[in-house]
């Protein structure tokens, strides 16, 4: 497979997952703001922090002032996260990235999946999306979520299960690890720091985090209805059967990369990426039984995010043509 094409596949996957995660997080935050009696800044500030856009938000809007009203301005934060062309994580940018990568490999993406991507792109540029956004916010996020989920489903059900799809899925999984890790890190810190909160509020917060990761139903099944910070953190980090847990995603990403570059084919490029991902998989697996503490969670998640960052770079260099392959 052509390295440039693989690169587009990989980023196509990352942008789909990023768009879906952003839409899900925003919808969950809207709902949380209604449910929990929390100061608005405690709902909306984590949205900016999780997305990694805190410094841009400060530069553009809030400045050094931690008490700036913008942190709690639901409309302002959502506008920033949805429509802002300069914010690299905005839905607008993610959908543009999704569509641009798909169009660059139009002959690789199946017709049905391409149509789903293109329709979402056209919808975002059309008045219809702005109207829905203004009149029916939840419907807006739902539209984006469904369109991205449809795309992911169509990719798996209409494309050959071989290298291009493996690269797309590798992108989806590595992006998903980041999303879960950041969400958990920010919320775990915020929720466990503030002590003496009413139990009902506490429960609402953890449920909201689970909903933002489409994990509330799955968690309740595993935990038989008991909601605790330790339980939720352990579930999101280690539950091997939950498709958004870090353990699941790291392990699946490793399997995808094994298909792309089998461990025993030593003459093929990609060896360093594979080894690094294998080590991370083993490391996450070994942490499964360790007791959960606030600082432990933060250290684990930081390590995961840093490793994923480096693994993506190594994959780019070894497989995606960041440096051209030498002549045989």
């Amino acid at each position: 497979m052509i390295s440039r094409v693989a690169d587009h596949c990989f980023w196509f996957g990352r942008y789909i997952e990023r768009a879906e995660a952003t839409a899900r997080m925003l919808a969950a935050s809207v709902s949380l703001a209604l449910d929990a009696e929390l100061p608005a800044a405690q709902v909306w500030r984590p949205v900016i922090v999780v997305s990694g856009e805190e410094s841009r938000f400060r530069n553009r809007i809030a400045g050094d002032d931690d008490d700036h009203p913008a942190w709690g301005d639901a409309e302002l934060v959502q506008r920033f996260m949805v429509w802002d062309e300069d914010s690299v994580v905005s839905l607008t940018r993610s959908i543009q990235g999704m569509r641009w990568n798909a169009r660059s490999i139009r002959e690789v993406v199946s017709h049905e999946a391409w149509e789903a991507v293109n329709e979402l792109h056209l919808w975002m540029r059309d008045d219809a999306s702005h109207l829905t956004y203004a009149q029916h916010r939840e419907g807006f996020y739902q539209h984006v979520r469904r369109a991205t989920q449809l795309t992911l489903g169509l990719l798996r059900s209409t494309m050959l299960h071989d290298e291009p799809l493996d690269f797309m899925w590798l992108g989806v999984l590595l992006e998903r690890i980041n999303q879960t890790a950041r969400m958990l890190d920010v919320h775990h810190y915020a929720f466990t720091q503030a002590s003496g909160r009413h139990e009902v509020v506490e429960t609402a917060l953890w449920l909201s985090l689970l909903r933002a990761l489409s994990g509330s139903e799955a968690y309740l099944k595993r935990a038989a209805g008991r909601i605790s910070s330790e339980g939720v953190a352990r579930f999101l980090m280690s539950e091997p059967a939950f498709p958004r847990s870090i353990a699941y995603c790291v392990h699946s990403a490793y399997s995808r990369l094994c298909d792309i570059r089998p461990p025993d084919s030593h003459d093929l490029p990609g060896g360093a990426s594979l080894e690094r991902l294998r080590v991370l998989d083993a490391w996450v697996g070994a942490r499964r039984t360790e007791p959960v503490s606030a600082t432990g969670v933060h250290e684990l998640l930081t390590h995961v995010v840093d490793e994923v960052h480096d693994i993506c770079e190594t994959i780019g260099r070894e497989l995606l043509g960041a440096t051209p392959a030498p002549a045989s």
Binding site: S3, S104, R106, E119, L122, P324
Partner: protein, 499 residues
């Protein structure tokens, strides 16, 4: 049986949708003959189309345009910073071609392509036709498309014009004439296939009754054509053919990806390829992979910076060395521009007689070559009646439409012709035939002028003509220019099977 009888009796032609259809004076209409009666081979289809209600057609047209936009069947608008893409305007009402007519066109096109191929072999070989004085040597050797460095290079598989799109028009008598040969990188075939899908979706019943030749096997035939010319050391089983595109910002990018997808080939860009030891390789996730055949949709000036444009960063350094060594086939072969030069066009009938000893089957448009003193004198004296074209421009650019021109425009062209006579040819304006065309703004069917671009694939076994083609239509009222860059659109072209 019963059904088709009742259909043909229910409504006469020239009624319904076509009620009050005003044919253009002095123009051949493709569907309706004298007195507004549908031409015999099309009577049944015309009667069925007449029954389509105008608002239903308007709705179908809008639906079809949405479908094209959603599928991304678009071309990029150059110079638009936001990367706007537009659909190629089209009209759902098909252009019909009778079985007998097409059979003759097919024979004529095959004959023409055989002769043009032999001409190119000759020009890049012994140049017998120049020695015989059939075509003036200065005309050929001075052509912008002639590449002296390719003389003596034999293309793998012996084919040079793998893909061509020959533009045909019909004059006031209904006589088919070749307007120009496109032997380099003709585009538009993806619209032929896409327009057909729309026809079938929007007019299933009419289409079913009409008995039309299919066009959706074009990509399969193209893939076979490409494989047939693989260099001898590539066994056909694992022949690696690729489509080379300049990239997503090219206006025809949709077509490049369409062809790659429908042939199941990789779509590559120049940086994906490299040359080592006069062999071409592709950079892949599993290391270098050999490439045998390249269907290149890039201009030949940007193929290889070592040869054509030393100042250019575009292209694949060493590609022409690999080609000259016979290690990679390029479709179409570089150097073809010498044969579709508009000033060489008037000599194609002579080529057919010289190489094939046959009488040309297809008529041409009488052409004045400004390089010749007598021709130039005539052209300059009759500028207000002539269509003047630059020999090396396309897309409707660099053209003077004499009868519609201003005195200033004519003076400008007079100066240009006198300065560079080799660059210009002139023809009398042909009253292009017209087709009933749905005009959305007016909510009515009106005649608009059309041309036809059939596609011809030439493999080792010889030329094959796709039974269909791109009908381009001048959507602006009174216009003779069908190019998409100048307000042209397209129609599906229905080549009828024998009755």
């Amino acid at each position: 049986m019963v059904q088709s009888q009742s259909q043909s009796q229910s409504q006469g032609p020239g009624s319904g949708l076509f009620e009050g259809y005003p044919p253009l004076a002095g123009t051949y209409d493709e569907m309706f003959g004298d007195g507004g009666v549908a031409r015999a081979p099309f009577a049944r289809v015309a009667a069925l189309l007449a029954k389509v209600a105008p608002d239903e057609l308007a709705r179908s047209q809008a639906l079809a345009e949405t479908a094209l936009l959603h599928q991304g069947v678009t071309f990029s608008v150059y110079g638009d910073a936001r990367g706007t893409e537009k659909i190629f305007p089209f009209c759902l009402l098909p252009r019909l071609i009778a079985a007998d007519d097409f059979r003759r066109l097919e024979r004529g096109l095959q004959q023409r392509l055989r002769a043009l191929g032999m001409f190119l072999d000759d020009i890049y070989g012994d140049q017998k036709i120049l020695a015989a004085g059939v075509v003036p040597a200065e005309m050929i050797l001075g052509a912008a498309g002639y590449r002296p460095m390719l003389r003596g290079v034999k293309p793998p598989g012996g084919v040079r014009i793998h893909i061509s799109g020959v533009d045909l028009i019909r004059d006031a008598d209904g006589t088919w004439r070749v307007l120009e040969d496109n032997l380099r990188t003709p585009s538009g075939v993806s619209y032929v296939v896409e327009n057909r899908m729309l026809s079938k979706r929007m007019f299933p019943r009419v289409f079913d009754t009409a008995r039309v030749h299919r066009v959706d096997h074009y990509p399969t035939r193209l893939a076979e054509t490409l494989r047939s010319v693989a260099p001898t050391d590539a066994s056909s089983g694992d022949c690696n053919a690729v489509v080379l595109t300049p990239g997503t910002y090219n206006s025809a990018y949709f077509e490049h990806s369409f062809l790659a997808r429908t042939m199941g080939l990789e779509l590559v860009q120049a940086p994906d390829l490299f040359v080592d030891g006069d062999k071409v390789y592709c950079r892949t996730t599993r290391g270098p992979r050999r490439v045998d055949v390249i269907y290149r949709r890039t201009d030949e000036a940007f193929l290889d910076p070592e040869v054509f444009r030393p100042d250019s960063m575009l292209g694949v350094p060493g590609l022409m060395r690999a080609y000259a060594a016979g290690n990679v086939a390029l479709a179409n072969a570089p150097g073809n521009g010498v044969a579709d030069d508009k000033a060489v066009y008037p000599f194609v009938p002579d080529m057919i007689e010289f190489y094939l000893s046959e009488t040309p089957i297809l008529e041409q448009v009488p052409t004045y070559v400004c390089l010749f003193d007598d021709d130039r004198k005539y052209v300059l004296e009759h500028l207000d009646q002539m269509v003047v074209k630059a020999v090396d421009e396309a897309g409707g650019y660099g053209m003077l439409m004499g009868p519609q021109s201003t005195a200033e425009e004519r003076d400008e062209f007079r100066r240009r012709i006198e300065a560079e006579p080799r660059r210009y040819i002139a023809q009398h304006r042909i009253e292009l035939s017209s087709c009933p065309t749905w005009i959305s703004e007016r909510g009515a069917v009106e005649p608009r002028r059309v041309d036809l671009r059939p596609y011809i694939l030439t493999s080792r076994e010889g030329p094959w003509v796709l039974p269909g083609g791109l009908t381009r239509v001048a959507l602006k009222r009174g216009s003779y220019v069908v190019n998409s860059s100048q307000g042209g659109g397209s129609k599906d072209t229905w080549v009828m099977k024998d009755a």
